[in-house]
Subunit: 157 residues, 6 copies
């Protein structure tokens, strides 16, 4: 039944033969971009949760705290958004029907990862930030497997 | 079998109960944004194909032609990219597992539409630009149906 | 006297005959873009005013509140800015001296609308957000009237 | 009659007393930003017109020429857009009804200048680029006059 | 010894003869852009420090305060970032090995100025904001001296 | 003598003790971002040089060629700019006076690399694109050495 679905999908895609030059390994795709920004989401989430609220009567400390908190939230937002964009570029431009055949949970994986990016914006959740890292690692493995390359996973932080 | 797949997908999504406030009709989503930019893609594609190449010996006309062509290509690129982004916001943020149950081709529809946006950048193809408009209209119908609203489809151009 | 002013304005505009290809209905302009972002301004303003301040002793709730508030303010800012940009594109690129003749309050309408966008950033005012929606609706009516088209006004939210 | 129009405009503006803190000279506005980008428009226009078309049989020279031409057009576009944005910030945020009373051609001046920015994108016209510089200089004079300051006009290029 | 270092630097730079057309004073560079945004950093820093915290029981005033504070922090961030970008364009594109010979502290000056931009984001420090203004003024003097022009330093605010 | 220069530099830097929390390995920096975009510059440069010019009488092929060439030039520009930005973040935010002591050619290395980014925009030069890759690799080695980590260098393409 899955084969039929895939056949149907392939039939409905715009003229793949036109894009033949993209089927080869000529583009520069690397999930490392998404990994770096996802690490920043984890780091910012952790730093927000670790911030110590100063005594409200200490005005200088309170302003410094608010400046830091505001910036950390904005950076978390920006980095989660970049992670989402970089992952979606892989989904929309790199992965092709032939890969879907090999990875039937391709759509589900990316939908879940993209929704995790949004969850990391909406919430300050170390749990969801870590789940996002796991999702990026899963995509890292999936991606390099399609290229038959063994690129090791590491974290910068 | 599809039901099993959907059940599996739902099981693997991040804590939907946390996002309960988003399940209601509180957000502002409207496929009209994507429709407007897709129209611009159609229009730019058509204008590029209709441009008349001036006589190379007429330097002023040649420079004007190159300026116009360069801008049209850049605008087509930008508008196709915006269409892609606006469609993907619907896919990643508005549509939820409950909608997937109702529209089993949800992922396929958005993947195809996103790949059409990329195709409209890579090529100067009136055919693909029109297919993109059709894909946006399909999403327009799907979207408003999930809200039980009858919003009529129109084009600005 | 108004006619004289308009005649004077027309005399001072850069070579309209050069832009003859733009005088026709070839461009893709649609006030729906500004309507969607203005709706987001109204929605965000309302959500900010409706947020419940948690007990300061509940650290987790306080962080969640600050994250949400910070994001809502940033989204309000961004959407008000986009509304302003989309309205000003209509004013600077779509509307031409011939329209000013028909709508002598054209400049006033757009100046007021743009200043309302700024007011919606500076303040958290449901009143000004609603006035912005009214201004966008007025421009919607004015715009489609210049095209002799009857496009109905609706809201996505 | 103009006084009546102005009175009418003032009546219809959103609660100016709310913005009292902005009526003083506390913001940082300076038409120099628009002057710098307008100079870039003039410079890019001139450079495009001065480019020498290489012999089509010289492939290396032709590619270099196309790279340069493409970039100059894109930079002209970007700088004209920035000029437009910086001028419109002055119009929508700095200038207030009281200034309109003093400069009845305020709206006309900015509309004309904004349309010149668009013309400088659409065309490769040294004439319109120079007219844009003149428009920016007029706004420079108008702006500093409202602040009773004598800031001299200069060009960086 | 410094001369040797400079000679070494010059030897290792990419083919300066290729860029001969840039060696002349044809580009449009002006430290005024960085000066305007640095003034905004000073202004925003001062405004943040001067904000009066409302009584927490006054909900309307508290929301207005949070909206204002959030925006001021975001504007400070944005303007400090723009200052950094504009300064670095001067360092990477305008200044050339021949200038380094004349100003041996060129790298140090820009490194310090860029780090001050970052410090003005991280902190709410009037002292560092003023030091940034001084750094921009130093660069203003250095820049115009390389062009043998006497452009007077002024502030818009 | 170099030690004196460094001592002087350290004396003139803004309050390093304030930033003590940044001296630890808490930030997320990774030269892989710059490596990915530099690879794209190399790839785009190569593709531009490899494009075959169609017969001018074949209008469809000529339009396709111009669309492709225009996009490749724009992508090269964008990726070179991103490379520059990512490298400069390392230079201005990650590297500190203590690193300069260890790497006296730190400034020179980054200045050269940034100028190579600009050269890769201005030209279509495989040689300079490759030199940019080498510069990024040198920075990769320098960066990980400061962290006493052995992260292997690889290319995605």
């Amino acid at each position: 039944m899955l084969k039929q679905v895939i056949a149907k999908i392939k039939n409905r895609f715009p003229a793949p033969e036109v894009h033949a030059h993209c089927d080869g390994p000529c583009g520069v795709y690397d999930p490392a971009s998404a990994r770096i920004t996802a690490e920043a989401v984890v780091s910012m989430t952790k730093k927000i949760l670790d911030l110590e609220v100063p005594d409200p009567s200490d005005k200088a400390a309170t302003i410094a705290y608010q400046n830091t908190l505001s910036r950390y939230i904005a950076i978390k937002e920006e980095q989660a958004q970049k992670t989402k964009e970089d992952l979606l570029i892989l989904w929309t431009d790199y992965f092709k029907p032939v890969h879907l055949e090999k990875y039937p949970d391709l759509h589900d994986t990316f939908w879940k990862a993209a929704k995790l990016c949004s969850a990391c914006k909406v919430e300050v959740s170390a749990e969801h930030a870590n789940e996002l890292m796991d999702a990026v690692q899963k995509i890292h493995n999936m991606f390099w497997a399609t290229k038959d390359r063994d690129v090791s996973w590491y974290k910068a932080s």
